[in-house]
Symmetry: C2
Subunit: 374 residues, 2 copies
């Protein structure tokens, strides 16, 4: 009996085999490239999925908040990078973590470095966040004044030590082909090499940390980088397929949604599954049409390629509108459950906050309202 027959409300289905394949492929690549894989756990945020990484030989991880760091620390992860400009208002949590494990933080400007140096009471390794072209945050690599000023703060602090330069080439999300991704990768790599070279004699042990899912999925040679931090690859999603990081058949999560109404006049199926389940992230199909998901058929073995021309075209708070072909419309009835590949798996996982495997197991998701004990 398929898992679909047990679903009564929107849930996030997890295909263990696809997910483990995604993890293993990236772990193998890191091994071949002799580079540390420090996967970003913000995508799955689940202690059970984290164990699959451990089985693949991973021991260092990345998270996106200090609270998330405490969650994984409680599960025994003891080398954690919080890849977000450090929020010094959480100094108690920083010190709690730093007193017990290897914690790596990052700063994107001098102000933050100064504040951190004033509150930190235990050893912390600090990365300087570099803006390699995404222009979200980070020090520009040519801004040596700021970099040197931050280094001075680090050198003057008893508890801070300099890890190196960390970047996230988020501009790779604008790519639409493997060639475009490789160009971003080459440009970022060159820029990080130049920056690293200019600090090599003064800081011979500093490291370079890079890694967004698109470049890590496509590139094989990571140049001078010491570690990569992709996250989304654990599940992938329709955005990554559009960017050319993955094939749609590799997407390891799908939202199971009850069908609550049908409109034959416009081949529209109304799903119990809306913005509070998928998030409102959409993809432009190029012709101005926005889509919020694609239909897949689920059996005991999981799902394959999405059905052609069957898209979630609109989401409100709890409703989703799935527009389908004539043939598919006839196959779906009210009371059925259908599965939809998400546009952005990180956001969808955060909203559905838990996983149902194809065998019916429930996996936990980090609870941002809970205080973890470490």
């Amino acid at each position: 009996m398929s898992i679909m027959s047990k679903v009564t409300e929107p849930v996030l289905l997890l295909d263990e085999q696809k997910c483990r394949n995604n993890i293993q492929r990236m772990a193998d690549k890191a091994k071949r490239s002799k580079i540390r894989l420090r996967p970003h756990f913000k995508t799955h945020q689940s202690r059970q999925i984290a164990e699959w990484f451990r089985e693949a030989g991973i021991s260092c991880i990345t998270v996106s908040s200090l609270r998330m760091a405490t969650y994984f620390a409680e599960q025994g992860w003891d080398d954690i990078t919080v890849a977000f400009p450090v929020n010094t208002l959480e100094h108690e949590r920083i010190n709690r973590l730093a007193s017990k494990l290897n914690i790596n933080l990052l700063v994107a400007d001098l102000e933050a470095a100064l504040l951190l140096s004033q509150v930190v009471k235990y050893p912390v390794r600090l990365w300087i966040k570099v803006d390699s072209g995404s222009h979200r945050t980070g020090v520009l690599p040519e801004d040596k004044t700021t970099i040197n000023a931050i280094l001075e703060v680090i050198n003057g602090s008893r508890n801070l030590s300099f890890s190196g330069f960390l970047t996230h080439a988020g501009q790779s999300y604008n790519c639409r082909s493997r060639d475009e991704i490789m160009k971003v990768h080459r440009d970022t790599s060159a820029l990080m090499r130049e920056l690293s070279d200019s600090y090599r004699s003064a800081y011979p042990d500093h490291e370079i940390s890079t890694g967004d899912t698109p470049t890590c999925s496509i590139a094989e040679d990571f140049g001078i980088a010491n570690e990569i931090r992709p996250g989304n690859f654990v599940f992938y999603d329709l955005t990554q397929a559009l960017v050319s990081s993955c094939e749609k058949r590799e997407i390891a999560v799908a939202v199971a949604c009850p069908v609550v109404a049908r409109h034959a006049d416009r081949n529209e199926i109304i799903l119990y599954g809306g913005g509070i389940h998928f998030s409102k992230e959409s993809l432009d199909q190029g012709d101005g049409r926005k889509i919020f998901g694609e239909l897949v058929w689920v059996n005991d073995e999981g799902w394959g390629e999405p059905e052609k021309e069957c898209y979630v075209t609109k989401l409100s708070q709890e409703h989703g509108i799935l527009r389908v072909t004539d043939e598919v419309f006839r196959r779906i009835a009210v009371g059925d459950v259908v599965a939809i590949l998400p546009v952005h798996s990180c956001m969808t996982a955060n909203l559905l906050a838990g996983y149902t495997t194809l065998t019916g197991e429930r996996f936990e998701y980090f609870d941002a309202k809970k205080e973890y004990f470490i």
Copy 2:
């Protein structure tokens, strides 16, 4: 000492006075118009805020899921409409609710009515959802064949009784002035009156339920409607201000975000507050610029109008980019906490899942993963 000095992570601030004013204004209007106000609780989803409605004389409510109905039922609310095409896969929950309180469900097509008639074991009042122009879901008012077929199912069922016709004029969200909202209101009212008239002799006691926040905020005369079901008005948000339903100074929630970096070269402030806090809903400023929030200054009395030309221009998973004027850039430092009015308060409340009042009280938000006992 302002509440802002206690914030260390993104939280949703709630201004009790603004919120109570919004509730009272709508309750007074319903009383003047001699119409039942059955507010939609999907916006706040909080038992404490629900009590403010009770103090304003409200006893009948609307929710968007059966599980949310059990949450408010547990708090003593005993006349609840689930304003979503009924999900018959949750028949156990339907029967649990129907055995204990007045539960009102709705169907948008014949298939759902047939399924419901097969599973319902206790009395349920059933609305026929009518599509009055939003084209999300519902029976077209001219489709008398479907309406009559649904009525036949209801009449043939021991436990179903016919409440009347329910609509949601969601097209009002496309309005940009009070005149445009009034036009939607007049068109919808005329259409519902015509539909009601044609079933008056056969079903003399049937009711008409309407009500989206824009038309309920602006209109004074609700014609033949027996009840209105606005929800968002409890908080309002930047979308409602754009639509012309409210003034920005009436928005009763704001997201408090720590400042984690600043980029002087482009007057950008990096907030700890991203898509998993605000949702990715944006507003088009008319000139192609999308915004995700506006800056307000908070003191002990709350906040006023947003600061001019200070917008959240981009969100990623945990980062927000706040672009400000030169003068405002100089006023904000790393380590400060700023407050941002949200684009869509329903989605933001769902993500932040709890409220902090200006006096530091914490209010609960419905937990969609919890099983409530009723």
